[in-house]
Amino acid sequence: MSTRTTLSSKRLASSLVTVTAHVVGKLEEFPPGARRSVTVGGRAIAVFNVYGKLFALRDNCPHQGASLSAGTVTGSITSPGPGCYGYDRNRAVVTCPWHGWGFDLCSGRSEFDPQRTRVRAYDVGITSDAALLRKTADDPGPAEVLRIENEGDYVVVFT
């Protein structure tokens, strides 16, 4: 399940029209199993690496604001009918550390009320595109400036 999103310059260029790309750190700072809170444009965003796949959610539970990055990541319990239970490890769910609300890491939709109760999910990817790195390093506010030392893989969150 080590799907790895590598972003082309073209996709990035088109994304930049509607979204802002934020480099949030080196890929090795987000190893598999990592759950980290990063600040992007004043917002706390939780970045998760689940078996090599990256996810990003707003790092505030919509209920009482707890940090989802302090939550527990698991697969999803499924039940096709009474008395039948399954465990879907291909879906990743984070459970809030306080009251246990579960959110799909991909969509941000809650387990108990997916239509109406959700947390903002962000696109997240990996890039080593030097143009993008220069752009994002120079572009946003001072708090977000990331010094780019070398070529390498970086994690990018799109807002």
């Binding site: 209920h63 009482q64 707890a66 940090s67 302090a70 527990t72 550390p97 306080w98 246990g100």
Partner: protein, 358 residues
């Protein structure tokens, strides 16, 4: 940090390790204490199911290890400093695992109260505490209350709600009397050893327990009122802790009607039950009720008329913690804010401003 500074009336600290109690427990009980580990709890458990991975918030484990609530330094940083808590009332729940009768029960509760004073209440002026007592041995509980009554570190007597009998039962009277004499409120709090919690028998899921806990509190409230507790002990005050309060209007409407219709049966009851509740009872907010139409929460509070009796609580570090700046289902005006976050607690607790510090 929010304003006004808050009084958090329900905070749970606990032993870092079970052995820590031995520093305060006479050595003649040590062997018994070791041998009984887990036994009382298993025998007395009424919970067939539990919340997700235990009762604690998943982000409250102290950095130095130990269970959530076991580190004074971390509790100060993670709760008191983080939220601007002016006073926190500590209620360790070890009593759930202690014998409730006899010399052993008495010794364990005395040791726990000594530990609480020594390791917590004298270590930070924001902390005050609950007296833990062996509820099912009310005479011994009364002795413990009288022993602590001159210690201003304690502001209430903790009574866990799952008792063997409703608290209006005459056998609990010595305990209630000692609290009234000491000027200390009784705080009835979720937990305990005895009853079935529902009016019909055991349940299967923790979810049911959580939803139905008001049954236990309603039973105690009705029992104490109809058995004349407040006629006998006019100074006694009761705090319903973790009970919810939104059920109060319907219960009081029904109870007042029952009193009008059936009053002669309970001859000691000279006043309308709702009048007694408004005079003798306080309620904590947590776990706060969340009506679908949020404004209904204030409507319900208006129906109760208990604006002066509702007190904010976080229940830190338990999983159903309410965050002071996030939990309220509706905006409060300044007056209600002051009452719920601070003034109502000051009306029921006697906080010492000049407590002796070691």
């Amino acid at each position: 940090v929010i304003t006004p500074p808050i009084i958090d009336c329900d905070v749970h600290n606990g032993l870092r390790s079970r052995d820590d109690l031995k520093d305060y427990l006479p050595s003649r009980w040590h062997r018994y204490y070791d041998d009984s580990a887990g036994w009382v709890s298993a025998a007395g458990s009424v919970v067939p199911s539990a919340p997700r991975r235990g009762v604690f918030r998943h982000d409250a484990t102290p950095p130095e290890g130990g269970p959530p609530g076991s580190s004074l330094d971390y509790l100060k940083a993670h709760l008191l400093d983080a939220w601007g808590v002016e006073r926190a009332v500590l209620s360790p729940l070890e009593s759930i695992e202690f014998a409730q009768h006899g010399e052993d029960g008495g010794a364990l509760h005395t040791a726990l109260n000594d530990w609480l004073v020594d390791r917590w209440l004298t270590q930070d002026e924001r902390l005050c505490g609950s007296i833990s007592v062996p509820v099912e041995d009310p005479t011994r509980a009364a002795v413990e209350i009288r022993l602590r009554s001159s210690d201003e570190n304690f502001v209430q007597v903790l009574v866990l709600a799952s008792t063997r009998d409703p608290l209006g039962n005459a056998r609990y009277r010595p305990m209630l009397e000692a609290a009234a004499d000491a000027g200390l409120p009784i705080a009835i709090h979720v937990g305990g050893h005895g009853g079935t919690l529902t009016s019909c028998g055991p349940f299967r899921y923790y979810l049911e327990r959580r939803a139905l806990y008001p049954h236990a509190f309603q039973t105690h409230l009705v029992s104490m009122i109809t058995n004349g507790v407040f006629e006998a002990l006019p100074e006694l005050r009761v705090i319903m802790m973790e009970s919810g309060f939104v059920w109060l209007p319907s219960l009081l409407w029904r109870l007042d009607r029952a009193w009008r219709d059936l009053g002669p049966e309970a001859t000691r009851l000279g006043r309308a039950p709702s009048e007694i509740v408004r005079r003798h009872f306080w309620f904590s907010t947590q776990p706060i009720d969340e009506p679908a139409a949020r404004g209904d929460w204030l409507q319900t509070l208006d129906w109760t008329g208990m604006h002066d009796r509702l007190m904010f609580a976080t229940d830190y570090p338990h999983w159903d913690f309410d965050a002071p700046d996030q939990a309220l289902p509706v905006e409060f005006d300044d007056d209600l804010r002051k009452k719920v976050f601070s003034e109502n607690a000051k009306s029921v607790y006697t906080f010492s401003s000049a407590r002796a510090r070691t």
